[in-house]
């Protein structure tokens, strides 16, 4: 579904991604792990073109999205994103946050869109907060709203950029629970995370990145039990 070949990215002199090659199948849950500054987030942001790669290609359903002529708005309608800092719209209520894009993109009548938004809020357990403003919500609640907002676009793929890193430890669980539910429903997900428990339990594939390289990838059981690469071993021994 998503194929990354020879992807490289630099910010000025700093090379943050070096020759990345990754394949992601439909329905797969892929966790990207690794130390801070290893290029995980940049890799994720290249997939939906928030960052433009310096070299290499990314194919989505066989179509090169790194091509300048590709319509990125089509890509963004199909690949949703959940940010570390939630990025909810502070001037809109929870419900309005979710309804904004479907309304602007005329994905249905106002009633249909509202009904769908309320269903999504119910799904993330926040129906009672529909008319609150984001500032009145906890971090975990805000992140769940952000997930509902991304789901409102009926995306085929969801990207998560360290979705629990800005949360108080006791709020991490509620967000992971929603993500696990999505994974169980068959959503294709790419998750940059430091939550090793989640990676081990939920993902189909784990990618370990360090220094801009994909050092090792494989199924979570193998990788967590018997990491092949020395650096993976060292990283896992530090975080587990």
């Amino acid at each position: 579904m998503i194929k990354v070949t020879g992807l490289s990215k630099s910010f000025g002199e700093l090379e943050v991604l070096k020759d990345i090659n990754v394949d992601i199948e439909e329905g797969e849950v892929v966790c990207v792990i690794g130390p801070s500054g290893s290029g995980k987030s940049t890799f994720l942001r290249c997939i939906n073109q928030l960052e433009k790669a310096n070299a290499g290609e990314i194919y989505y359903d066989g179509v090169p999205i790194t091509d300048k002529k590709y319509d990125l708005r089509k890509l963004h309608r199909e690949i949703g994103m959940v940010f570390q800092r939630f990025n909810l719209f502070p001037h809109k209520t929870v419900l309005q946050n979710i309804m904004l894009a479907p309304l602007k993109l005329k994905m249905g009548s106002r009633e249909e869109i509202k009904e769908q938004a309320l269903e999504l809020l119910d799904k993330v357990g926040l129906k009672s907060k529909a008319n609150e403003y984001p500032r009145n919500l906890s971090g975990g609640q805000q992140q769940r709203v952000a997930i509902a907002r991304a789901l409102a676009m009926k995306p085929r793929v969801l990207l998560f950029d360290e979705p629990t890193s800005a949360l108080d430890p006791e709020l991490v669980g509620e967000v992971l629970k929603v993500m696990k539910q999505l994974a169980d429903e068959g959503m294709t997900m790419i998750v940059v995370t430091h939550e090793m428990g989640f990676a081990r339990e939920v993902s189909d594939k784990v990618i370990f990145m360090e220094g801009g390289y994909v050092v090792e990838e494989g199924n979570p059981n193998d990788m967590f039990a018997n990491p092949k690469n020395e650096r993976t071993k060292e990283f896992l021994s530090r975080v587990l």
């Binding site: 939906n48 928030l50 708005r73 089509k74 963004h76 309608r77 690949i79 949703g80 994103m81 940010f83 800092r85 990025n87 909810l88 719209f89 502070p90 001037h91 904004l100 894009a101 602007k104 993109l105 952000a146 907002r149 991304a150 676009m153």
Partner: protein, 216 residues
């Protein structure tokens, strides 16, 4: 000297005539300035390009020259260059509009650039176009931030209309100076003039504060 209140009172009807022009020019000038400020502010907060350059040159010229010189240029020089006739009221509105626009442009740009990049990214990632992101997400948030400095500029612009007396606009200050030249009651008339400005600006500030409060 003896302060004779009656002159202060007698000049009021004349000042009211001037006040009408001051208010008319202020409103039209600030409206023009607001539109210019929004457009050039947006252009300057965007990517480098022709629009950005035009907006930057405009802001540079206006900020680099005194308002009075701008008024003289618009009323006397431009008509000679283009061989057209610009009515003095139009010249007044253009001067206030072009001048306040450049300063509002800076308020707009500053406010837009102060909005977290994550807001733009979130909008983009939901499939919204650049214009939709700007209109639905960035501008509503930026507007709240820019309102106090825009309000400040409104007040400055109202005061700046007094400088239009140099090109002969029949506004408040002009009416007062003419009344003084007839009666020589300098202290009485200029006291009235100052009081009228004070009341006008105080009312405007009050309205702006209310508006700001309601938007918060």
């Amino acid at each position: 000297m003896r302060f004779d209140w009656s002159y202060s009172i007698k000049v009021i009807p004349t000042l009211m005539t001037g006040l009408k022009y001051t208010i008319l020019i202020s409103i039209l000038g600030i409206l023009l300035g607001f539109v210019l400020g929004m457009l050039t502010g947006l252009a300057r907060s965007g990517k480098k390009g022709i629009l950005n350059t035009i907006a930057s040159v405009y802001v540079g010229i206006i900020r680099g020259t005194p308002l009075m010189v701008q008024a003289l240029y618009i009323y006397f020089a431009i008509p000679m260059i283009l061989n057209i006739n610009i009515p003095v009221l139009v010249a007044g509105v253009l001067t206030i509009g072009l001048n306040s626009g450049a300063y509002m442009s800076e308020c707009v740009r500053g406010a837009i650039e102060s909005i977290d990049i994550g807001q733009r990214e979130a909008g983009t990632c939901l499939g919204l176009s650049k214009v939709q992101v700007m209109v639905s997400i960035i501008i509503p948030q930026a507007f709240k931030i820019m309102l106090p400095s825009l309000g400040n500029q409104f007040v400055i612009s109202v005061k700046d209309t007094s400088l239009l007396t140099t090109i002969g606009v029949a506004e408040l200050t002009r009416q007062a100076t003419q009344a003084v030249s007839k009666s020589f009651r300098t202290v009485e008339i200029y006291t009235s003039l100052a009081v009228v400005y004070l009341l006008l600006i105080t009312t405007l500030s009050f309205i702006l504060k209310k508006l700001e409060g309601r938007l918060k």
